[in-house]
């Protein structure tokens, strides 16, 4: 069950499509204003998890508790090409009963860098512009939780930076975000926590720092390289002292860190 203040609480979530079990008892919590990255290979169950949270897919068992209104941007989305950006946001304002009016639409379009093309039809926008419009659409009605499924897949580096800044801005406003992305570097840069899903299960979870765990210490001495695989950065002064006391000459010390990518590949079975 979700705790008070949770924007999303997923408990023992299972989803079966015929013989294929897409989710095998997933537990996940996202606190208020928390930015959580969801990583995993294709077919791991990430989109299924997000769609169940949105109510688009029925779970086989388990529960999803939402802390308030949600905004959602699907991985494969499309907006009516005959609507302008402003009209699209207006439609979603009506459906979400948002009282924000023109001011909210203007602010959101400015946030995603589309204020200049508010009257342009969706059909005349590039895929990247449509993706940014999708993010603005998801933010209509001041949701407590944003579920973004690959929100930067069609964006160029500048667009990705805009989205990263936007996500940080959202966090500062107390909006929780579940970011489903293949871009590990992006997740590492902005997310407070990361959950890695593989074969329908959460196989690793923690902060990016925790998941980029220490991988030991290497010390270059006069007698060659000494490796201390269980040692951390905090162990370095003691190790150096012990080696010097033992009469060895120390030339260089390297703290080996395993990157998020290494951890990811390790837990999803990529190597």
């Amino acid at each position: 069950m979700g705790a008070v203040g949770d924007a999303l609480a997923v408990h023992e979530l299972r989803k079966r499509y015929g013989a294929n079990e897409a989710l095998k008892g997933v537990d996940l919590r996202i606190g208020e204003g928390e930015l959580v990255g969801l990583l995993g290979p294709n077919g791991a169950g990430k989109s299924t998890l997000v769609k169940i949270a949105c109510g688009l897919v029925r779970p086989t068992s388990g529960s999803v508790t939402l802390g308030g209104a949600i905004g959602y941007l699907a991985e494969l989305f499309r907006f009516p090409d005959w609507l302008s950006a402003d009209e699209l946001l207006q439609l979603h304002q009506k459906l979400a009963r948002s009282p924000g009016g023109a001011a909210e639409r203007r602010e959101l379009l400015e946030l995603v860098g589309l204020a200049e093309v508010a009257q342009r039809r969706v059909g005349a926008m590039s895929k990247g512009m449509q993706q940014r419009l999708g993010i603005a659409q998801a933010m209509i009605g001041d949701p407590k939780l944003l579920l973004l499924d690959e929100p930067t897949s069609a964006l160029d580096p500048a667009g990705r930076r805009t989205v990263r800044e936007l996500l940080e801005n959202l966090r500062s406003r107390g909006v929780a975000v579940l970011l489903n992305s293949h871009l590990l570097s992006e997740v590492e840069l902005v997310c407070d926590r990361v959950a890695i899903i593989a074969r329908g299960e959460v196989v690793a979870a923690g902060s990016p720092d925790e998941l980029s765990r220490a991988g030991g210490v290497e010390i270059e001495t006069g007698r060659g390289t000494r490796t201390f695989s269980q040692a951390t950065r905090e162990d370095v002064p003691r190790l150096v002292r012990e080696l010097v006391d033992a009469g060895e000459d120390v030339y260089e010390v390297r703290v080996i860190r395993s990157s998020l990518e290494d951890t990811y590949l390790e837990v999803v079975g990529g190597r």
């Binding site: 109510g55 029925r58 959602y72 989305f77 907006f79 005959w82």
Partner: protein, 285 residues
């Protein structure tokens, strides 16, 4: 209800922007012009129209009822096309294109979405067939000098008939792809017409079995029953040899389905709506 009206207005706005109504209006004007031309030519060439001939048959009534019956057939067909094309991809088609998901997450219930799409399609199609039927009646009156015995009842029956076709197409869109749904609904429409034809053959051959099959099929596809009922109502007060002559004509098999038809239509529509909602709620998007 508010959400349903927003969805309905959105669907109608799409039809306006995509110029669906402009195309429909232009084609309908062409249809009415052709109908007027045909009616004028028939009225001009048939000298006996307007007179009662030696057999006691009022040619003007027979010609007027037959021509308007023909127009009603075409009107229902045009209305069915409109109903099918406004709804055939409303659920599965839009979900496959990724258009539906952002709307449903807002959140609006799936029932609200279906209700909105039905309100949009049914109101447009019903208004359309009623307008075309009334225009045809006026054209018939102008050229043949004949006005149907009932006008409001048949107009409503045609309107509701096409609303039922819209409901069937919308329900089909939940489970079928756009193409399959379009084919399925037109085949159902064809089955309804076949039921009507069977009724006419039954009338000509005095076959009770065929008449029962026709009537049964019309109850299963009540848009056909409503169409038949509308046809019979335009000559509801016509009697004698003129009635006999109309019965021998192409729309002579038309039968009234009694007072039970309207309650049945309400129950039928509710059942179609409930089945569509049940299937939609079970559908993963």
């Amino acid at each position: 209800m508010r959400g349903a009206l927003i969805i309905a207005s959105f669907a109608l706005q799409e039809s306006v922007r995509r110029r669906v109504f402009v195309v429909v209006a232009l084609l309908t004007i062409a249809f009415l012009a052709l109908y007027g031309l045909g009616t004028w030519q028939i009225a001009k060439s048939a000298d006996e129209i307007g007179d009662t001939n030696s057999n006691g048959i009022e040619g003007r009534v027979v010609a007027g009822a037959t021509l308007l019956g023909l127009s009603m057939f075409a009107t229902l067909f045009l209305g069915a096309i409109l109903a099918v094309f406004l709804t055939l991809g409303a659920v599965r088609g839009d979900a496959e294109r990724g258009l539906l998901q952002p709307l449903l997450v807002r959140p609006i219930s799936r029932g609200t979405f279906l209700a909105g799409r039905f309100i949009a399609a049914a109101s447009v199609c019903a208004a359309y067939v009623i307008a075309v039927f009334l225009a045809s009646a006026v054209i018939t009156d102008i050229f043949v000098d004949w006005w149907p015995d009932r006008i409001v009842g048949p107009a409503l029956e045609l309107g509701v008939a096409v609303a039922i076709i819209a409901a069937l197409a919308l329900a089909g869109s939940v489970v079928l792809s756009s193409t399959a749904n379009g084919i399925a609904v037109f085949m159902l429409f064809g089955a309804g017409l076949t039921a009507g034809l069977l009724g006419q053959i039954a009338e000509a051959l005095s076959s009770d079995t065929l008449a029962d099959v026709s009537k049964g099929a019309s109850w299963v596809l009540p848009f056909e029953a409503l169409y038949q009922s509308a046809l019979s109502h335009i000559t509801a007060d016509t009697i004698g040899f003129t009635r006999f002559a109309i019965d021998l004509g192409p729309f002579g098999g038309a039968q009234a389905f009694g007072a039970g038809l309207w309650p049945y239509v309400v129950v039928y529509s509710a059942a179609v709506g409930a089945a569509a909602l049940w299937a939609f709620r079970r559908r993963d998007l």
